[in-house]
């Protein structure tokens, strides 16, 4: 049974926890603004890039097209790039990525495929090291937040390219949390190799209305130059989305934690006051009954 002093200590400790969570919430909110701006600023580049790729891809024939565009044709070895956070305390963010990874690996293995994992971010790697450790071929840390440089991205893209050239992968998928809004993030699986070609109606209209493009030096060279850039861009946008999602998830989680701490403080304070009054009443009764006995 906790006495008054214990209760008082408890209240104090919950109060300091509340201070920390509310500070973390503010920090996440401020960073989220920046991350969201970054993610939005990166969209025009990615959109234009995929527009050009789409128009080129529709012309390329499957036999002669570079493997980076269409994959190797086989579906045997699959590299799964998983984006998680380096730090915890962000609600279901890491948990949902870890669960999705586990599910995806199981599904692919069930289809008899070989799966390799490239982990970006510490949390998912640590969580999956025990059960899927032998599948992890490479990992990266510290590539996220509001300052992601293109050089970091290139180091990831290089791994993928090297494995493709060495025939160590047929398909490359990326698993990340897509930022939808500050309260919703969605675990998304998209394909890096082969490139996802989206046939939009707008693109069709565009190509119909304008004259055919001239390519300098020629289509194949342009495509060869463009595909590695596109790979990096895809990874870059995914990482920006993931960073924004992480901060949004942390903000929501810390907001909840702050509110829960508030509730707990209220309950403990009520309990404390009740105990205090009970103690006073007991003392009074003792004094009165003592006086009456005289």
């Amino acid at each position: 049974m906790a006495n008054l002093k214990d209760l008082k200590n408890r209240i104090r400790s919950v109060k300091s926890t509340q201070k920390i969570t509310s500070a973390m919430k503010m920090v996440a909110a401020a960073k989220l603004r920046r991350a969201q701006d970054n993610a939005e600023a990166a969209r025009p580049y990615a959109a234009r890039m995929s527009a050009i790729i789409n128009s080129l891809a529709s012309k390329a024939s499957p036999e002669t097209a570079p493997t980076m565009l269409v994959g190797t044709g086989a579906e045997q070895r699959i590299l799964l790039v998983v984006l998680s956070a380096d730090r915890g305390l962000c609600g279901g963010f890491n948990g949902s990525i870890i669960r999705a990874t586990r599910r995806e690996v199981e599904r692919l293995k069930g289809e008899g495929k070989t799966v390799d994992l490239l982990m970006v971010g510490r949390k998912a790697k640590d969580a999956l090291k025990r059960e899927l450790g032998d599948l992890i071929v490479d990992s990266r840390e510290g590539i996220q937040g509001t300052a992601v440089s293109f050089a970091d991205i290139d180091s990831i893209a290089d791994v993928i390219r090297a494995r493709l050239e060495n025939g160590e992968l047929d398909r490359c998928l990326i698993l990340y949390n897509r930022f939808i809004s500050a309260i919703t993030q969605e675990v998304t699986l998209s394909s890096l190799i082969p490139v996802e070609v989206v046939e939009t109606e707008a693109a069709d209209e565009d190509s119909a209305s304008s004259a055919p493009y001239e390519y300098e030096p020629d289509e194949a060279t342009v495509l060869e130059d463009l595909l590695p850039r596109n790979l990096s861009t895809q990874i870059y946008t995914a990482i920006l989305e993931s960073s924004a999602s992480e901060l949004a998830a942390r903000m929501t989680a810390m907001d909840n934690a702050t509110r829960n701490a508030g509730d707990l403080i209220d309950r403990l304070t009520m309990e404390y006051n009740r105990r205090r009054q009970a103690a006073i009443t007991t003392e009074l009764i003792e004094i009165i009954s003592g006086a009456e006995a005289l």
Partner: protein
């Protein structure tokens, strides 16, 4: 007013420049070419070099790009570049400090690019 082409320079981080230009000189991988209004639709890879943007017949701005791709249509000219540095009112010491960082990180591509920027300034 003369015809213009809508010029945009887009890097992964942001839309760096968007102006209506009378001509854009682009360092294509087959050599420099000028994109003016009603240019034939062209997609070209770029080499490292300087993009010159002409507004009303005068050079309005010069931007160093480290390769990339140009998408030219009759009324638009979009350049996608991973690295780009504007050469107007850019501080030499800023570039030099960036160069220092690239040097310590062992980032050779960035280093070469910044050297080219310094040479062109």
């Amino acid at each position: 007013m003369a015809e213009t082409t809508a010029f945009e320079l887009v890097t992964p981080a942001r839309v760096m420049m968007a102006v209506d230009a009378s001509m854009v000189v682009i360092p294509g991988s087959l050599g420099l070419f000028g994109a003016m209004p009603r240019h034939a639709p062209t997609i070209s890879t770029l080499q490292r070099g300087v993009v010159e943007v002409y507004v009303n017949g005068n050079v309005n701005s010069r931007i160093m790009v480290d390769g990339g791709i140009a998408d030219v249509t009759e009324d638009k000219c979009v350049i996608l570049a991973e690295r780009a540095v504007t050469l107007d009112n850019t501080n030499r010491s800023d570039i030099e400090s960036q160069r220092q960082t690239a040097d310590t990180n062992g980032n050779t591509r960035e280093l070469e690019f910044l050297d080219a920027v310094l040479a062109a300034l």
